[in-house]
Symmetry: C2
Subunit: 343 residues, 2 copies
DNA sequence: GTGAAAGCGCTAACAC
DNA sequence: GTGTTAGCGCTTTCAC
């Protein structure tokens, strides 16, 4: 039975006293490395066990000026992307012995940004991972921000010199998607984009446009309509496209949720997928394989993105610890093409 | 530009010195409440601003024996459920001034459980929220655990006396789903369950069975097949059901992902939904409204679940703080029926 | 109103 | 090998 009794915390002093040694010795036993005679060690360990002593990481962090804690700032945790990334971050942090201090953002006002940073820094996080999509100019503060005393790593941000980031290669993913359509003999490739204020949406659209142009095909603005990632908006965007570009033979849709609406609406109107209209998505939702028809899509490995992020930030922290310069670079994770029935 | 310069932290002493007051006065200024003369306050505040002083929460936690941090233990973060719940937790924690220290579990061995608890407690969390489904006997340790020195709140756990928990009322949700089918004149209601080792799956199945029985209808074991929540398993389970119970007129499927497979396979076989087969799911995925046909389902409010959890644990923390007894109770969140085309 | 002293729980640095 | 001393950055207590 779990009790929440108010027993006072067992401290290093208690252990020292009961074991008849100094606190220093207890500390040495707890932290392995330094030498303690076998006998003393055993005695101390017995007392630790008996009293249920747990060293306070807090006190240790205070003196070591290091908390083995990573700050994680998220935005839109309720969406699949950020939470899958977070899972990767959690896994890798665990492996490397770090804990995660989380903060969910609800806007990008300068005021809240400062507040979030402050609360993280006040708790002595060793580094910060920024898990928020770049929308409009919501990341511009990065370039003119006051100095932050710990390393910061940005995910899914447009590369900026002097700043470290990791992102899926959205452009390349879009190229692969579009090329796949072309390779299957499609010539009239439409696009439903995400909201153009999103950097990721912009990249995906650019991949589509440039691939068509390289192949000597048209990619005018009318062949692309804009959604907001939701299935609802996908339906709207598809209807617009049907008017603007009635003889298209394929669509690259910027995410699977919007692609789902395209499949559904096509089915309802008797447009056969993929025969009359090939459809390819982006994201590879777990459900996408079970859409009707199953959805060909681009899979981005968000788990890996999160893992990489932790790897990188820990390297940065260590460099800082050793007074080495902190290398900053922008890194891309390559997505992969998943071929199924819809294209 | 973000620099990670090694400037030493600005401490309360620095501020005191520059402002020409004692550290005490600075502390009083930072913590509002106590009286400081207007003039002194202004001078101190100016210095704080100028030096960019941020009080160390760490040091404060150490002395106050209180961290304003909640431990959150998750399992299966990559699935939608836990991450939506986490979002609710993050939101509410923010409102109440708490931070979140996260730990993702990868198994339920006694060893890792202890380790997770220890690392949370070592960082002085004020309370712990346990966000992991009850599977098999993976929660039994709760009843015979050594005393944990802070309040713990469990989500999605079978009610246990003396222990606090919050969960969706899965049973009631299943009752609503089944009743909806009966009210629409269905008499031969099948069920695809989740893995029966999951408490939530068990509850949903019980709701189905008991509702049928109360209506004087049959609910034998053959009318129910078992999946593992995935779309793949849903397909299997549906195929088995088609053999075992070919004249069923409706199915209550334990989650939307499996229901998706039922829709797809029905479509492929020319079974008309809902005319020949009514289908109802559970969870209300964002995509469910865009399945073909759109899926009638039970919506559980996981955001609210998370918010309630924080509310509750903070109450428990405060009670403990005031040396009051900590009330323990099991609370249920009611799901709602979302009627769409499939039933 | 303000300051001085003590101490939260731990470890770094130096004795012995 | 082990103990002593000092101090991380803050707040509490009690003076004045």
């Amino acid at each position: 039975m779990i009790l929440s009794d108010r027993k006072k915390r067992v401290t290093i002093k208690d252990v020292a006293q009961v074991a008849g040694v100094s606190t220093q010795t207890v500390s040495r036993v707890m932290n392995k490395f330094s030498y303690v005679s076998g006998e003393t060690r055993q005695r101390v360990e017995a007392v630790v066990e008996q009293l249920g002593y747990r060293p306070s990481t807090l006190a240790r962090s205070l003196i070591q000026q290091r908390s083995y804690t990573l700050g994680v700032v998220t935005f839109g945790l309720k969406f699949l992307g950020p939470s899958r990334t977070l899972n990767g971050i959690a896994d890798q942090a665990d492996k490397l012995g770090y804990m995660l201090l989380m903060k969910e953002l609800d806007n990008f006002e300068k005021h809240s940004l400062n507040e979030v940073m402050d609360s993280l820094l006040a708790r002595q996080v060793d580094g910060i991972i920024w898990v928020a999509p770049e929308i409009g100019n919501n990341h511009d503060w990065v370039e003119q921000s006051e100095s932050i005393p710990v390393p910061v790593l940005f995910l899914a941000m447009r590369p900026r010199t002097g700043i470290s980031s990791v992102a899926t290669d959205n452009y390349q993913g879009a190229v692969m998607a579009t090329q796949h359509l072309l390779e299957n003999g499609r010539k009239r490739v439409a696009h439903i984009s995400g909201p153009m204020s999103w950097w990721e949406a912009e990249e995906r659209k650019r991949g589509w446009r440039e691939t068509l142009e390289k192949a000597g095909l048209d990619a005018p603005e009318q062949f692309c309509t804009e959604g907001n990632w939701s299935s609802t908006s996908g339906e709207q965007a598809f209807l617009q496209l049907l008017e603007a570009y009635p003889n298209m033979d394929s669509i690259f849709v910027a995410n699977d949720q919007m692609a789902l609406s395209v499949l559904r609406e096509s089915h309802r109107r008797g447009i056969r997928v993929p025969e009359q209209l090939a459809v390819i998505g982006f994201d590879n939702l777990p459900e996408s394989a079970y859409f009707y028809p199953s959805l060909t899509t681009i899979s981005q490995d968000l788990q890996l993105l999160g893992e990489e992020a932790v790897q990188r930030i820990v390297e940065m922290i260590q460099a800082r610890q050793n007074n080495q310069p902190i290398p900053s670079r922008s890194q891309f994770i390559q997505p992969t093409l998943i071929v199924r029935e819809s294209a």
